[in-house]
């Protein structure tokens, strides 16, 4: 298959649902001239807009880029960043990179698992919290590190993190809130 095809004219069809979030995808498609090799960027946009990639979104991306759905699915499932399931309202990511591992971030993860009854990759039944582990968030000087709703917290202790997550769930200010990474 030719992934280096010349720019294609924009197909007329928009997404029938009229969901405005598809407009964001359309914008990325337009910016990258519907090139088939822009698939990953289209998926990045979609994931940002929807929070995850459901079947509808994958089918839409496949149609717009004139790629087989299996190809799109293959790419979406290859990368850790893309999730095919909706996440919880809040996320807590525990870094398990080497520096964090040496500083015992595993104990933080275990405490969270125990407290909230979920494993990394899972979401609580009430859809409030998703727990995840990261390979390395690149803040190794502050190990062990957790990222709660985008805010990086360094030199954590298990009980501190549990308190922070509780606070995030209760929508009250967490102690000494960190800075959003973006």
């Amino acid at each position: 298959m030719s992934v280096n095809a010349p720019p294609r004219p924009k197909p007329e069809t928009e997404h029938p649902s009229g969901d405005p979030r598809f407009k964001l995808i359309d914008r990325t498609l337009k910016r990258l001239q519907h090139r088939q090799d822009s698939l990953i960027e289209v998926l990045h946009t979609a994931q940002e807009a929807f929070g995850y990639l459901d079947d509808d979104v994958l089918i839409y991306a496949a149609q717009q880029l004139k790629l087989p759905l299996s190809w799109v699915y293959g790419v979406a499932t290859f990368y850790h960043f893309f999730s095919l399931k909706p996440g919880g309202e809040h996320t807590c990511i525990v870094c398990l990179g080497t520096a964090c591992y040496v500083k015992k971030s595993g104990e933080i993860l275990a405490a969270l698992e125990k407290e909230f009854g979920i494993k990394p990759g899972q979401t609580t039944a009430d859809k409030k919290l998703s727990l995840a582990q990261a390979r390395c968030v690149g803040s190794c000087g502050l190990a062990p590190v957790v990222v709660i709703d985008g805010g990086v917290h360094g030199r954590e202790m298990a009980n501190e993190t549990v308190a922070r997550v509780r606070a995030a769930l209760a929508h009250v200010a967490a102690p000494a809130a960190g800075e959003p990474a973006a």
Binding site: V3, F78, F81, T98, R135, C136, G138, G141, L142, H153
Partner: protein, 548 residues
Amino acid sequence: MNRIELQAIADKEIERQQELKCRVLCCASTACLSSGGQEVRKALQDELKAAGLTKDVQVVATGCKGLCSRGPVVEVTGPAQERVLYANVTAEAAQQIVRQHLVGGQPVNDYRLDADSPFFTKQVRVVLSNSGIVDPERIEDYIARQGYAALGHALREMTPEEVCLAIRRSGLRGRGGAGYATGLKWDLVRKADGRDKYVIANGDEGDPGAYMDRTLMESDPHRVLEGMALAGYAVGAEQGFLYVRGEYPLAVKRLERAIKAAERQGVLGSRIFDSNFNFRVDIRIGAGAFVCGEETALMSSIMGRRGEPRPRPPYPAQSGLWNSPTLINNVETFGNIAPIILNGPEWYAAMGTEKSKGTKIFALTGNVNNTGLIEVPMGITLREIVFEIGGGIPDGRTFKAAQTGGPSGGCIPAEYLDTPVDYESLTALGSMMGSGGLIVMDDQTSMVDVAKFYMEFCMDESCGKCVPCRVGTAQMHRLLSRLIAGEASAADLATLEELCRMVKALSLCGLGQSAPNPILSTLKYFRAEYEARLKSGAAHGAPSQEAA
């Protein structure tokens, strides 16, 4: 833009800075921001306003100063001012710094950091020379420190061949792990036939425990862009891609701004420095897959596909992106280019050892007092890094091993602390230079656990394309788990060693080829720890049920 205009921008910025009484440089990298850097900056600004000093004192958000464990770090500097560094600054401390130091002229000793401590004096900052000093979001600040002067010089005074030659003579080797001679690679791409050529900066930085590339991109994005543009000129490419790890949103934001600013100033884009050279840079954001740091997988990912490696040859220099000749270098490698062109290859080659020239950035982490980012001359010993720069092991514990090279590297025990850090010496010890993660482990760390930790990483990150890596890593992980559970026999250990050799020899790409290294190196130096975990009695040759 021409070189006279560039100089004019530099002069104007230098003049502006000299007119200030002083500047307060606040680290605004991810690490310091997450320890409260933003609040500190705001407190400084508010307090300066209250003191009526906003005209004389400027607060600058800079990149990383390296001592991440003591953040937020703040530096006071000025034309008629002794340079003063502060660590662990809080909002209250910031107010005190303004009142007592900036207004009263008396540094606040409680927060003062000794700038003459080995952490600073043992470092040599070439790639990071601007890091923590310039505002990464202001191109003028970069230009005032000779930014884009190397590009202007090369485009006017040097042929592409001469640029390649300069890089070759400098002795620079790739900082992404393998240490391939950079100038040779550039020459290969320069000589390759192809109408379209590409330059890629590898900013995927997948090694857990490493954040050198992140820091460089966040702290001095123009340095990377200038290096890429010089490479584009040298090899004959007009398009560059910067592949940045998805976990680094701040780096992406700063690079995007830097590219826009550089295009506005005419140091990127069309007809750069009024020459015939055009060069554009696009950012591609990774989507979380360690294997995408491998060059062929990375190119596949840039083309929107699954990031699976392919056999080499053909090497990217012959057939890379869209089958065109492609130069791919690590972000830190690009960070070395402008200084080499400006100061000459001889200056660069005077640093380091015979075969490893220049400096290397390390992320010094783990069980060590001063964790952070350091840049040291090649050939420095591990002992100097851990005990002088790093300030030794905390909590009264002792040094057990230093891990370099991430999941492809190994653990170096205490008896080799005096080994010079260069490509060959580390490889000879069964580890490798890698991209620059240096994790210090104290006597409480179990080496078998560490080996399992890395194997779990490799197992999860194996892309699955080739069998030795996909199945081999899973089997090695299973054997290590059994060992740790006390269920393994001596025969299991023998199987593990055999698997190590097999996976190393037969895997398709570097991921599998190097995945056994953490086991092999810990077996080499800490074999007793493995044997102590064997099913009781098995270590002494007692027959084991499974062994039959």
